[in-house]
Symmetry: C2
């Protein structure tokens, strides 16, 4: 097992570092679902003591990104067709709700910033940098919902992203084939302050990944 390294700023706590490194590993699919992990193994690989690693993993297990089994093993949960459908419908429901409630708070300046993020994504796609694409896509959605100053949905959405992580990642290289860029539709809806069009575009943006992810899931049944 090889977990990608991530940058660590000097004011970052060890526990935080372990959390972000593991989180990133889950999102980019570096830990295949079902892989058996141990606290001590991770601590050894990270060159840390078990204490901060345990705290990091407890946080991730609270977010349902990692399962803590009773037999002293940790793993990224397996995906099933039913769970995938459930997570995606939850995403649609939650993110449409969050977007609708953010809309009245959005300033023109903020829409410009979202536009810039979308341009970044176009560049990442052209450059074939899927990691950056994933990251910026999440920033795009997060920024949108965060326009609502009392917003409480983002942490929940992030938990779902974490659970979908490995699969959406696998699917990204197919999405560019699709060509349909729903972010453009989202941006026009924002500019027009059209809640109806906004949720329609967002729903398509999410469901598009859904269909593709479904295909990937069917192509790669879980190992026996």
């Amino acid at each position: 097992m090889r977990i990608p390294e991530t940058p660590r700023s000097e004011d970052m706590t060890t526990q935080d570092y372990a959390y972000h490194r593991l989180r990133n590993a889950v999102i980019v699919g570096a830990i295949p679902p079902g892989t058996s992990l141990t606290f001590r193994g991770i601590a050894l690989e990270f060159g840390l003591s078990p204490t901060p690693v345990r705290e990091a993993i407890r946080r991730l297990s609270t977010e349902n990104a990692i399962e803590v089994l009773e037999n002293r093993r940790l793993r990224v949960p397996e995906m099933t067709a039913g769970r995938l459908d459930e997570l995606l419908e939850l995403r649609v429901s939650l993110e449409c709700h969050a977007a609708k409630r953010a809309l009245p708070h959005l300033t023109d300046l903020q829409i410009d910033e979202l536009q810039a993020l979308d341009d970044d994504m176009d560049r990442s796609l052209a450059a074939g940098d899927l990691d950056a694409l994933t990251r910026t896509n999440q920033t795009f959605h997060r920024s949108l919902y965060s326009a609502n100053p009392d917003q409480a949905a983002v942490p929940l959405v992030e938990s779902i992203w974490l659970q979908l992580g490995p699969f959406l990642r696998q699917v990204l290289h197919r999405i560019d084939q699709d060509g349909a860029d729903y972010h453009k539709a989202i941006l026009s809806a924002l500019r027009a302050r059209d809640a109806e069009a906004l949720t329609r575009a967002l729903e398509q943006d999410i469901r598009n990944g859904s269909i593709q992810a479904g295909r990937v899931l069917l192509d790669t049944p879980p190992a026996p």
Copy 2:
């Protein structure tokens, strides 16, 4: 600061005990929002070492039940009118979604069990046991959504419950005045397999607490 004790079974891990005891304290409102806590203070009060307490609090902060500030202090977040509204609308959106997706999986037997839980609540209300009422109410909702075998919404809903905890608790003694029992309406909608009526009843059930909580919030502005 006095944190109520909670039962601890012998197979329960220390960290789990600390988590559940703190969680309960938040839900029953034993820790007033804004109260300043420390890891070591809690460890001392619980008679435990700081390590498992830290893990427990990290879990709770991931669920947004407790804030970890940079100035070495922990606290239960203050409630504002905006945040309350946000949390309640999120509850409506999320729980209606979860209920709709649970409905096709619900068996008659499971509906009977929900009916029994509702009867329990009536008894708790008559006996004036608000703690039991709170607990059983949550069990009612959780059981409903959990009928969906692939359900992923319950952990998210629980996070919102935790954030609303102290306020809904304060409000409970007013709700019995109201007399309207939306759980009865929920149960008939379930029996009739009527998704429309189900979400309507659920929405009212949640919003009812909403209105009452709003009043309480206005009655008790945060300390200066």
